[in-house]
């Protein structure tokens, strides 16, 4: 391969790429938090809810785990307008990723409900906690602690998955990298820099999550 690196053609675009990284992070955080909330409600329903509600949740999880995310977003973006629901590309991607993550986070948190300490539930019940109070004050902290590794893993996956937004012309990091590549044709430089930004971003996220875990839940997670 005879290729001479010319970084100077790409370096002026780094701030533009970093702006895309900010959008990447935003999408990941939004879809992860929404997915977590969906998963928590679903897992509560699977644990405490009546049978029809449990079946509905199982249907949702089965559907979203067994179809590609891209197809799900295509569906939201191209089919929903027929029903009068017109969404921006960003909103379509955010909703698709949230629903998709919700299915995985239901499964992860269902396992957390199964590992609950029966004693704490008994104590909360005997003291008159309602189910939402029990979920919020007793079960959620337990899940966050017991499931810390798979949950933070899921967050990192969300960061990677945001690159799918490039297909819908959402200018997150991958989308902007594609733009810079079209402008400069310095592919090796552009995508090397992009890769480095992704690595730095995810490592920073992992560290932040580990610190958050230590602070919130006294999880003895490794920082790096």
């Amino acid at each position: 391969m005879n290729y001479s690196l010319i970084w100077s053609q790409v370096t002026p675009h780094i701030p533009y790429l970093l702006g895309g990284a900010a959008l990447t992070l935003q999408l990941a955080v939004i879809s992860f938090l929404a997915g977590w909330a969906i998963g928590l409600v679903n897992a509560s329903v699977l644990h405490f809810g009546p049978r029809p509600a449990r079946l509905a949740v199982q249907g949702y999880v089965t559907f979203f785990i067994n179809t590609p995310l891209l197809v799900q977003i295509f569906f939201i973006f191209f089919v929903l307008p027929d029903a009068g629901i017109l969404l921006s590309p960003y909103a379509a991607v955010a909703i698709g990723m949230s629903l998709n993550a919700g299915a995985y986070l239901t499964e992860i948190q269902r396992a957390g409900f199964q590992s609950l300490r029966r004693e704490e539930i008994d104590a909360a019940t005997a003291m008159g906690f309602s189910v939402p109070q029990m979920v919020w004050y007793v079960i959620l902290p337990h899940i966050a602690k017991a499931l810390y590794p798979p949950l933070s893993n899921q967050f990192i996956i969300q960061v990677m998955t945001t690159s799918i937004a490039a297909i819908f012309a959402v200018e997150e990091l991958t989308g902007r990298a594609y733009n810079v590549n079209s402008l400069t044709f310095r592919s090796l430089e552009v995508f090397s820099i992009t890769a480095v930004i992704y690595v730095v971003l995810t490592l920073a996220c992992s560290m932040a999550l580990a610190l958050l875990g230590r602070w919130l839940f006294r999880v003895k997670a490794r920082i790096l």
Binding site: D122, A123, A126, G128
Partner: protein, 236 residues
């Protein structure tokens, strides 16, 4: 009061308790001692029978009506059952603030006083995994007292403790007895039951077989099953 599915776990349990009395519940395992306590606090749903406190019936029919049961009874479990993610103070204060909607500042002041009463004034900010079993169980007792129950239910509260930690928990219960707390105590600490209980009820196969002052029950058992039971425990 009865409880059970195909085979009734409790049947024909009838017991009158005076205010300030301490009742010891003894009997072989599987006799229904813990089931009585768990039913009283609303963890198990009774099939038949009634519970009356101060002349007012306690309604176990639905989840919302259980509120009255929880105003009357508070339970301390064998495994302490503390919330692992909360400090001792929060463990004690959470139910009064959350369930009874009381003012948090006032509840926390009371919780500190209760923790001091069980000898844990220095441990208010400790998490359960930083406390010994005996300390955890004393937090659990403070947590039950914070609910201001009419009757305190103690379910084998020393059974999970290392022998050297049993004494501190028993001392706490003795102090409660002196303060006039009405208690139902399920325990295998027969010496302790004999000391603190005003009356002892012997259960076997879901029924109260014999009730009376400790001296009568332990030293002059009338029923053959109780005689058999006491002779077996006294041998150890």
């Amino acid at each position: 009061m009865s409880y059970g599915g195909k085979a009734d776990v409790l049947r024909g349990v009838s017991l009158d308790v005076e205010r300030g009395e301490v009742i010891g519940l003894i009997g072989p395992s599987g006799s229904g001692k813990s089931t009585i306590l768990r039913t009283l606090v609303g963890l198990l749903k009774p099939k038949a029978g009634q519970v009356t406190v101060d002349g007012a019936p306690v309604d176990y029919a639905s989840r919302s009506s259980l509120r009255t049961a929880r105003d009357r009874f508070a339970i301390v479990f064998q495994q302490y059952n503390l919330f692992q993610n909360m400090t001792a103070l929060r463990n004690v204060a959470i139910a009064p603030t959350l369930v009874k909607k009381r003012d948090r500042g006032q509840v926390e002041a009371e919780a500190r006083a209760l923790l001091a009463r069980v000898g844990l004034a220095e441990k208010v900010n400790a998490y359960p995994d930083e406390l010994s079993g005996g300390q955890q169980q004393r937090v659990a007792i403070a947590r039950a007292l914070a609910l201001k129950p009419d009757i305190l239910l103690l379910d084998e509260v020393t059974a999970a403790l290392d022998p050297e930690l049993v004494g501190e928990v028993l001392d706490t219960i003795r102090a409660l007895q002196r303060d006039g707390m009405t208690m139902l105590i399920v325990s295998h600490e027969m010496g302790f039951i004999r000391e603190v209980a005003s009356r002892v009820a012997f259960l076997d196969q879901g029924s109260v077989v014999e009730v009376g002052p400790p001296a009568d029950v332990f030293d002059r058992p009338t029923s053959p099953r109780l005689r058999d039971f006491t002779s077996r425990i006294l041998r150890h």
